[in-house]
Homo-oligomer: 375 residues x 2
């Protein structure tokens, strides 16, 4: 009897779990929001992940339920757990991925390094924070943001007037200091229910317009100390928040070489896509092993360097696949991954991984191959 | 509009095409012989590959048709081609994978090195050949054999009496000299309809009871000459027979260092499974690119050594998956691939790939991990 995993959400993260599931003999079932989604090949049900009965029916018969996103409501998650379903990551952990204010508070309890922050519910409170931090800050809606949405750099409380006005009584916004960072990093770690963890090499991420554009694995010029600190932070968060499955910790490396926690993702993450071609165990395979409580795989890199370049938007008047022949002809070592999503400005529609011995060549190849899919 | 490939046959070779198809955004449809086969996830139809109407209906709407096996009858293939379907490999090439006597004759025409052979239709003819070859030979049924079936070493014509008796008028058996080989090798090559080819490193294969047991990539101690000769043979066969998709040429390396062609397979082959984890472009991805006439990918190895060990038979009283936790716990770098097939003595039910820098360690890991799935 094969092991069965149920993935809630039919996007590209679920899609990229299909390959390792097939190879390891894991039966993968996906609850997709609609027909024709990225993970459509594995979709066994189409429905609303916010509806308990839909998710409950979907969860029947699988050995574990996991997620392509972090939006499944707490009451649905807790009902599943009460039913005896193995939910990974669980509701207690997901709380901190779903609510940024709760995350900041919890990380503070755990003594982990992060930007200075405050919860604010009015213009006065916000302005006070800005005044104490060089007249600027980053305002975030605590729930629902991703890929730069729900995040705004402000220099006056007025600039957040719309979000403040939309707050219900008791609701708050998160404001953080604008960190002077030399670069951004990401630390992936996998954790099983039984406690075993595996840490990936810390990577450097490059964002454009709030969206991940490139990833370099491992982070160059980090001399060992950054990797050790990032791994420690990742482990303490995974343990302290009880995360199971893949955890991605996005970090700022400050101009004075401190690491500060920016955001968390409790799922495979864009910063780990390089591992599909650059690590012995991809983050997608690792996530499946972790949520099914199978022994974790070797996270070691296969080569000195791996670079991922996102395909954002895609061509305006072509299908993504129309560009494939030219890209593959020009770059025979590039590993192209497409998501089966229609091109749309700024949308993540695929990525290119290149792996090799020389960083400059690998960066060049990845960018050049990805460029074939732009307009 | 995504590219669509139709694969006739629902076995593990089709199954292993799923992963690269999903990643490259190729829609993969499988015509399975029955429900619940290895490639069941991608099965869009269940039916008899020998029935023209079944295959014709299946082929409607795909950009190319290819195969998980070589048993589709010539008349079905030729009807598809006449319909205008892109069939790869095509019937003219597949003829030489389907009929060993035709293959031997064609390779002779092409001047390629192979064992001495003859077509025989009676005991006298067979005995004459045996008498001329140290009193022994290998008798093969020209059609239908695989994994050692339809192959018999004989020391007297009597030992093939049953096969001879079963011959219809005009039918013949193939008899070959029993080659004194120091080892067996396999040469993979991919070829596109447009003519581009890519050659994989020549590998060493170890057979037990006529079935592939282990593969070492690249073949050790080959000093360059063997690789060059094997690549040349592979290219000449691919071109001479008009093969498209993956071609595997099984070779004997004689005790006096000649290479002789043993058998051909026009599909991804057991001797190439190592490439899933050990090459930049797996044979399964390469096969899809080739049959869809997409530019071929880099066939280079990712590491100095890759070893594949087959899982033959599987446990008697367990499901294969029951052994997974122990195997993965003991060997975190082993890449386990299972086929979703029920254990049965001698049956190919999965394989383990290990990739690394030191051959002895890689061989050890692969054998040790695979052993968890034996009885």
């Amino acid at each position: 009897m094969s092991v069965k995993v149920g993935v809630v959400g039919g996007g590209q993260l679920a899609r990229m779990m299909i390959a390792p599931a097939v190879e390891l003999g894991i039966e993968i079932r996906v609850l997709a929001e609609e027909e024709g989604m990225a993970a459509g090949l594995a979709a066994t049900a189409v429905g609303d992940y916010r509806d308990l009965e839909t998710v409950r029916a979907f969860a029947r018969g699988v050995d574990a339920v996991t997620f392509d996103h972090e939006h499944v409501p707490q009451e649905v998650l807790r009902a599943l757990v009460a039913d005896g379903v193995a939910v990974h990551p669980g509701p207690d952990a997901l709380l901190y991925a779903q609510d940024k204010l709760l995350m900041r508070a919890r990380l503070e309890e755990l003594g982990l390094p992060q930007p200075e922050w405050a919860a604010v519910s009015d213009a006065a409170g916000l302005q006070t924070f800005l005044d104490g931090h060089d007249g600027r800050g980053v305002v975030k809606t605590p729930r629902g943001g991703y890929d730069g949405k729900g995040v705004r750099v402000v220099r006056d409380a007025d600039e957040a007037a719309d979000w403040l006005a939309a707050l219900a009584p008791g609701e708050e916004l998160l404001v953080e200091e604008l960190v002077a960072f030399s670069r951004e990093l990401a630390q992936q770690i996998a954790r099983r229910p039984s406690g075993q963890t595996r840490v990936y090499p810390v990577v450097e991420t490059v964002q454009r317009d709030g969206v991940c554009a490139e990833v370099i694995a491992p982070a160059p010029h980090e001399g060992g100390r950054v990797a050790a600190v990032a791994a420690e932070i990742g482990s303490r968060i995974a343990e302290g928040l009880g995360v199971t499955g893949m955890l991605a910790v996005e970090l700022f490396e400050t101009t004075d070489e401190r690491l500060l926690v920016n955001e968390l993702a409790m799922r495979p993450h864009n910063s780990g896509h390089w591992s599909q071609d650059g690590a012995v165990t991809s983050q997608f395979e690792q996530h499946l092993r972790a949520v099914l409580d199978l022994p974790l795989g070797d996270p070691s890199p296969r080569a000195p360097w791996a670079v991922m370049v996102n395909i954002l938007g895609g061509p305006v008047d072509d299908a993504l696949e129309d560009r494939l022949p030219a890209a593959l002809a020009a770059h025979s070592s590039a590993k192209v991954h497409t998501y089966g999503k229609a091109p749309r400005p700024g949308r993540k529609v695929g990525h290119v991984n290149v792996v090799g011995d020389e960083l400059d060549a690998v960066v060049y190849e990845a960018r050049a191959a990805a460029a074939y899919f732009a307009d």
